[in-house]
């Protein structure tokens, strides 16, 4: 046993060379791509599938996120897809046969101003009517759930209360990806790493294949699940998307004895933090405002993040920053994803998850697989079309992300 605390399976996946063609090529071997491949086989019997990953599986945002899982979104459309995901999370360890360290330790979203309180309570009432577990907690109740939060009224941004979703929590990101990958591999799906897509072969308005650094691969359908790099791929199909890619940083501390029993998010002071199973504090920092594909952010964002963390958690003062990193998040104008069809036949889009993609992993895998298999959106992703930017039917979730974007 290592400190990983779980017994990994003896075998995870083959490392095949690409075949000449597949029914479906999924571009992007992150959590979303792997889950999509898995559900294509599991739910739709489509097994001639390849997942193409330009680096190593789940090495992008999947390896870089802070693993928060929750479904307490404001709008009906968002609550539906995230709650669908959360229900899948609740059976996922069993479904995948993989210990995912899925821990429903609850998530607190703190309110610091009277307007925060209004918006929080609005979300709680909406969540309940949407079948999402949600509670409003007064400051003393916040302290009962998480005793290390400073609820003193004298701090700069006092805690006026919080929403609490008990079924929310965290999971171990790598193991989630590996769980999907292993099952996909068992279905005969080819997981092909070090394989970068360099072009999309589109003939008469239909995609028929992809060009890669490992040769051309014919494809009946192509499903893009490339997060921050989606714009680059879509441009190969002549598509311009309402996406902007930004660096988003995160960090971990040294290993600590258990001190933080839940997940705390604060919109107003830009903190989201949990303590992982091994004992490190896992914390998300803010998003850099400028576009960037460099997988590196600006350090003043981290410094600001630390100041914010200590406002809420004075006990963290002498915890140490051990490692920081950045992912590339693709954001949309309404902070909601785009999942669905494109003007190119056989080409499907799953992108724009911004900072919130991890928690959706099983849910979006399920729905995106449905979309690809049936050439029409699943009801849960039907609202998240590209078309909504033309009609104005946005799903404005700016209040839902813990970072201002």
């Amino acid at each position: 046993m290592t400190l990983a605390d779980v017994e990994h399976p003896d075998f995870l996946w083959r490392n095949p060379d690409p075949a000449s063609g597949y029914d479906v090529v999924v571009v992007g071997g992150g959590g979303h791509g792997l889950a999509t491949a898995y559900y294509l086989a599991r739910n739709h019997g489509i097994r001639r599938v390849a997942v193409l990953e330009k680096g190593w599986l789940a090495g992008g945002n999947m390896a870089r996120n802070t693993t928060i899982i929750r479904s307490n979104y404001l709008w009906d459309e968002s609550a539906a897809i995230y709650e669908h995901a959360l229900k899948l999370w609740e059976g996922l360890e069993q479904d995948l046969g993989y210990p995912l360290l899925f821990s429903q330790r609850g998530v607190l979203n703190l309110a610091h101003t009277l307007q925060d309180v209004r918006e929080s309570r609005r979300r709680v009432y909406a969540n309940r009517l949407n079948g999402v577990d949600a509670e409003w907690l007064e400051p003393e109740q916040v302290a009962e759930v998480c005793p290390i939060v400073d609820i003193s009224p004298d701090v700069r941004h006092p805690v006026l209360g919080a929403t609490y979703q008990p079924r929310a929590g965290i999971a171990k990101h790598d193991y989630v990806a590996w769980g999907f990958a292993r099952r996909a591999d068992e279905y005969g799906i080819d997981l092909i790493q070090d394989c970068e897509v360099t072009g999309l072969d589109i003939r008469a308005g239909r995609v028929v294949g992809v060009n890669t650094t490992r040769g051309r691969i014919a494809a009946g359908k192509v499903a893009l699940a490339a997060a921050g790099h989606t714009s680059v791929l879509a441009a190969m199909a002549g598509l311009r998307l309402p996406l902007q890619s930004h660096p988003l940083q995160a960090l971990v501390s040294d290993l600590l004895e258990p001190v933080h029993p839940t997940v705390v998010m604060s919109n107003a002071v830009h903190v989201y933090v949990s303590q992982a199973h091994k004992g490190e504090l896992v914390m998300g920092a803010g998003i850099d405002s400028q576009n960037g594909y460099g997988q590196r952010g600006s350090f003043h964002i981290i410094e600001r993040q630390m100041a914010a963390a200590l406002e809420l958690f004075p006990v963290f003062a002498r915890a140490h920053l051990l490692r920081s990193w950045a992912g590339i998040v693709d954001t949309t104008p309404d902070a909601s994803p785009i999942v669905g069809l494109t003007p190119v036949a056989g080409l499907y889009l799953n992108c724009g998850w911004g900072t919130g993609g991890f928690k959706a992993t099983p849910g979006v895998g399920w729905c995106f697989a449905h979309t690809v298999a049936n050439d029409e959106p699943h009801p849960y992703n039907a609202p998240f079309t590209l078309d909504r930017f033309t009609t104005g039917a946005l799903v404005d979730e700016h209040g839902a992300a813990a970072v201002a974007h």
Partner: protein
């Protein structure tokens, strides 16, 4: 008192001064200049921690930041988790203990202060070892502004831990001389105890200076404990040295197993013997110096086990002279002992396999050396590419970066002479920008060293159990994570091909070590297992920080009140003195209400509302954003930005205005007054002031630069006091005798300049309450005088100060929305019933085009309405959702809208609310239901204007 393993008179510690400290409950003595590790070793303490997974005893592996094992918990003077015993400078009274893998945070607040400093330089040199010192010297003598940072309390780097001489001087003495010369130059800053921990875009280097940690209890309270240096350098020289690589063999984790170079450092720098009877296990030459130095200091070296069949002749001679046995072509295959190593086992090794019988050798110290890893972290942070050098078994920097050069051991130089030579020219600009005269320093003389014999790259020693069939023993790759060779092999067996996957599967390199000692070894083991080339496999990425940094150090001074500036108006002192309860609005502190002693907030608000509706009341409205818009095209700009016409406003008049985003959603609202033909003054909501100014600047500068307009924020210039209520006219008349306050002379939506209480003032007849009201504006510093005068003049009328809560109630009774409370970025002016403020005449304005998008034409858009709960005492919670039926169906329940504002009304004698409801205006008169925690409550939909719908009261 001399500790048992301390050599009197040796080392750079002050043996004349004793420092008492405690470790794991026992008291010890050390000296200034010691680290906690060196002091423990001087006292014969090797076991300092416990492995996290297997609970095995763990000792001290190194003498520096590369320590992967001896992580300690500081308890006093203040708890701090997981520090390396090898980097904690000793001080009197230190209390520490060796935990089992996890640290503990203090429960009390950290009393220390932290800060940050910016510095700029021509040349930043990281590392004050031989290479760094010469690079700094060359730059400094050239007249450059130089910053030299070094993580140790004294300069010298590797020279502190060897007995090497430079220019005929002992290494530390030579280093001190160089630093003395540097320090005497005007543009040189030498920062010791300072670790450069990250390199960021545009040559930005972050460094942490530990200013008072070494002082322990004597740290002065007024001095920051740690300081972050934000260094911006034209060029950076990274001279951060190299870390010795441990060797991986069965049971390689016992206390008493230590890097060879570390033992040498403990001897020369600290005067500490790390054992009495040593075995040295090496794959290269450098460990021989440790062996001979230790023998010369009185240690018995029972054997040098050299995995190479060809041992260096010169060193063999040195060993022979000292009677040291060399076991060439052998490796250590295992160890015995529990709290401390007692015996090492060796066996012949060739071609990657063990051959022949095992032999034991007693020892209390096993020194290991598996080659050297250049410390290339900053180079990696700066996106420098590392390449694999098969001769050294290490990843080395590949050439210079535009503004960054690596020098010395960090650049793969092996000998002192080579490091000095490399450092001496490192300050020179790279070839592309080279000046005509190279910047360099003369290379000082060093003692001759034996020719190097090539090292052997050995990632892991086979476990004899593989051939003998015995019990396999753990071979640790990452001591802090307790991850072993078996774990790596399991990972590759599972199909993992990427070192990043192996890292995640095994957790190798994810603890303090961060791959410093374990990364390359893990790559090597993976490469061996897969038959792959380590050069293409690579190693895991180095990410900032190079060494762990306390959260508090990064937060610096931006804590508490300095986390976010607090803004107060000139009237703040009055509010505080009169019992105001405050609300944070943006950065402002605003009085929420003024409860009297014993009065609840609800009662206070009812009282304040009554005063405003029945008598006279006043509030501090100074936080409203104010923008002065001046220039010939000011009206034109405002016409483009507001939904309604502004340019037709006459000087002396005021108009309400709404701004939308390009998406047609309401952005902000406020009043605009025309001050003069070419001057307007507009107000914004308190929290939006900066945003709206930015918004206007953006359009003006980037789209319409031809418009002759200037924009100036004047928010803080004015104190603004709404004087509200039927008696407001009388009060104003009393303090402004020269002003004709009659309705005809000073009608609604106009403004006048007048003298109020002897103060020049601008008075606007606008009303956010529906009552007769005057907004009195004076220059900020005259605000308190105005306020006091109004209070005095209003006294006969029972003038009452009111806060934001009462303001909210008054405006809600009138159905006036608050942008940001009754809107959420998805609401159009039409949704709010503000269609009257949307011009139909103007061909265009920002947002207009979006009004005709399909979604904005839907008849079931959410619209602002009033709500009257059927129970007149029920105050609906803000945020409550509204549904169609009294019975709540199974989720998902269709929601028709939600409560945006909700209050008790003194004027209505009941509760009421505002809500956004789908097709709300069509539903007026209907009943909807609010499912709350304790039940479902019927509410009647009404027009949003619930008070004085005809608007007769505003004229008094």
């Amino acid at each position: 008192m001399t500790a048992p393993f301390r050599l009197p008179g040796r080392g750079l510690v002050d043996q004349g001064t004793d420092l008492e400290f405690s470790f794991d409950g026992r008291r010890y003595t050390g000296h200034p200049g010691d680290t906690l590790a060196s002091a423990l070793l001087a006292n014969g303490v090797h076991r300092v921690a416990t492995g996290i997974a297997y609970r095995r005893p763990r000792g001290i592996m190194s003498a520096g930041v590369e320590e992967p094992s001896a992580l300690v918990q500081i308890e006093e003077p203040f708890p701090e988790p997981m520090l390396q015993a090898t980097t904690v400078e000793l001080y009197a009274g230190l209390v520490a203990r060796g935990p089992a893998g996890r640290g503990r945070l203090a429960t009390a607040a950290d009393p220390a202060r932290y800060d940050a400093v910016h510095a700029h330089c021509d040349l930043l040199v990281v590392g004050a070892g031989p290479a760094g010192l010469l690079a700094a010297l060359a730059g400094a003598r050239d007249g450059q502004r130089v910053v030299l940072v070094d993580d140790q309390p004294r300069p010298g780097g590797s020279l502190l831990g060897t007995a090497e001489r430079v220019d005929g001087l002992p290494g530390p003495e030579w280093a001190a001389g160089v630093v003395a010369e540097l320090a005497a130059l005007p543009d040189v800053r030498v920062l010791s105890r300072t670790t450069a921990f990250g390199h960021y875009d545009d040559d930005f280097v972050l460094a942490l200076e530990r200013r008072t940690d070494h002082l322990g209890f004597d740290a002065p309270a007024g001095t920051s404990r740690q300081r972050v240096w934000r260094l911006r350098a034209r060029r950076t020289v990274v001279a951060t040295g190299a870390h010795e690589r441990p060797l991986v063999f069965p049971d390689n984790d016992r206390p008493g197993i230590m890097l060879a170079g570390a033992a040498r450092t403990y001897l020369h720098r600290y005067g500490v013997l790390t054992g009495r009877q040593a075995v040295v296990f090496t794959t290269d030459d450098s460990a021989y110096a440790a062996a001979t130095d230790l023998v010369d200091a009185g240690v018995t070296v029972a054997a040098v086990v050299d995995a190479r069949t060809t041992v260096p002749e010169a060193w063999a001679e040195q060993c022979a002279r000292r009677g040291i046995e060399i076991r060439a072509g052998e490796v250590v295959t295992g160890t015995s002992g529990s709290e401390r190593i007692t015996r090492a086992h060796t066996a012949p090794y060739a071609g990657g396999r063990l051959h022949g019988p095992r032999r034991g050798v007693d020892c209390d110290l096993l020194l290991v050396s598996g080659g050297w890893n250049p410390v290339a972290h900053l180079y990696s942070h700066a996106r420098g590419a590392l390449h694999y050098d098969p001769a050294r078994g290490a990843f080395l920097p590949t050439g210079d970066l535009p503004n960054l050069r690596v020098a010395g051991a960090a650049n793969g130089r092996a000998t002192l002479a080579d490091c000095l030579a490399d450092g001496a020219q490192a300050a020179d600009a790279p070839a592309s920008t080279r000046a005509s005269i190279p910047v360099s320093a003369p290379v000082p003389a060093t003692e001759p060293v034996p020719d190097q014999t090539p090292g052997l790259v050995l990632w892991s020693v086979p476990d004899p159990a593989e051939t003998d069939g015995g019990e396999p023993r753990p071979r640790f790759v990452d001591l802090q994570r307790d991850a072993t060779v078996a774990d790596v092999l399991r990972a590759t067996g599972a199909g993992l091909r990427s070192v990043e996957h192996v890292k995640r599967y095994t957790t190798i390199g994810t603890a303090h070590d961060q791959g410093r000692t374990s990364g390359v070894i893990a790559s090597g083991i993976v490469a061996d297992a897969l038959g792959a080339d380590i050069a293409t496999l690579g190693t895991t990425t180095f990410r900032p920080p190079y060494t762990p940094v306390a959260f508090a150090a990064l937060a610096g001074r931006d804590r508490g009140a300095l986390f976010d500036p607090v803004r107060v108006t000139p009237l703040h002192a009055w509010h505080t003195a009169h019992g105001a309860e405050f609300e944070n609005v943006g950065q402002w502190k605003r009085p929420r209400c003024y409860p009297r002693p014993g009065e609840s907030m609800d009662r206070a608000v009812l009282r304040e509302c009554r005063a405003a509706r029945e008598g006279v009341a006043l509030m501090d409205g100074s936080t409203l954003g104010k923008v002065s818009v001046q220039g010939p095209d000011a009206g034109e700009l405002l016409d483009r930005l507001y939904t309604n016409l502004i340019s037709t406003l006459k000087p002396g008049a005021a108009r309400y205005g709404v701004m939308c985003g390009v998406d047609g959603m309401v952005l902000d609202d406020g009043t605009v007054i025309r001050v003069a033909e070419e001057e307007f003054l507009l107000t914004t909501t308190t929290g939006n002031a900066a945003k709206i100014l930015d918004w206007m600047e953006e359009w003006l500068q980037t789209e319409w630069p031809h418009l002759r307009v200037t924009l100036t924020s004047v928010t803080d210039h004015w104190v603004t006091v709404p004087l509200v209520g039927p008696d407001s006219r009388a009060v104003l008349a009393a303090v402004a005798p020269d002003l004709d306050v009659a309705n005809a002379a000073f009608p609604f939506m106009t403004w006048r300049d007048a003298t109020v209480a002897g103060i020049p003032a601008r008075i606007c007849r606008i009303s956010f309450s529906g009552e007769l009201a005057y907004e009195v504006n004076v220059r900020g510093w005259e605000g308190p005088r105005l306020w006091e005068a109004l209070i005095a003049a209003g006294e006969p009328y029972g003038i009452t100060p009111y806060g934001t809560e009462t303001m909210h109630v008054l405006r809600a009774e009138k159905g006036y929305p608050i942008i940001g409370q009754d809107t959420d970025g998805t609401v159009t002016p039409q949704d709010l019933g503000l269609g009257w403020a949307v011009s139909r005449k103007k061909p265009d304005f920002i947002g207009k085009r979006s009004f005709t998008r399909a979604e904005n034409l839907r008849p079931d858009r959410k619209q602002l309405v009033g709500l009257l709960p059927e129970d007149p005492s029920l105050r609906l919670p803000e945020g409550a959702q509204l549904i169609a039926t009294a019975a709540v169906p199974a989720p998902p329940v269709p929601m028709l809208g939600h409560v945006t504002s909700s209050y008790r009304s003194a004027a209505l004698g009941r509760t009421f609310a505002l809500a956004l409801v789908k097709a709300g205006r069509e539903r007026i008169g209907d009943t909807l239901y609010a499912p709350l925690e304790e039940g479902v409550h019927p509410v009647r939909i009404t027009d949003p204007v619930l008070y004085d719908k005809e608007g007769t009261r505003r004229d008094g």
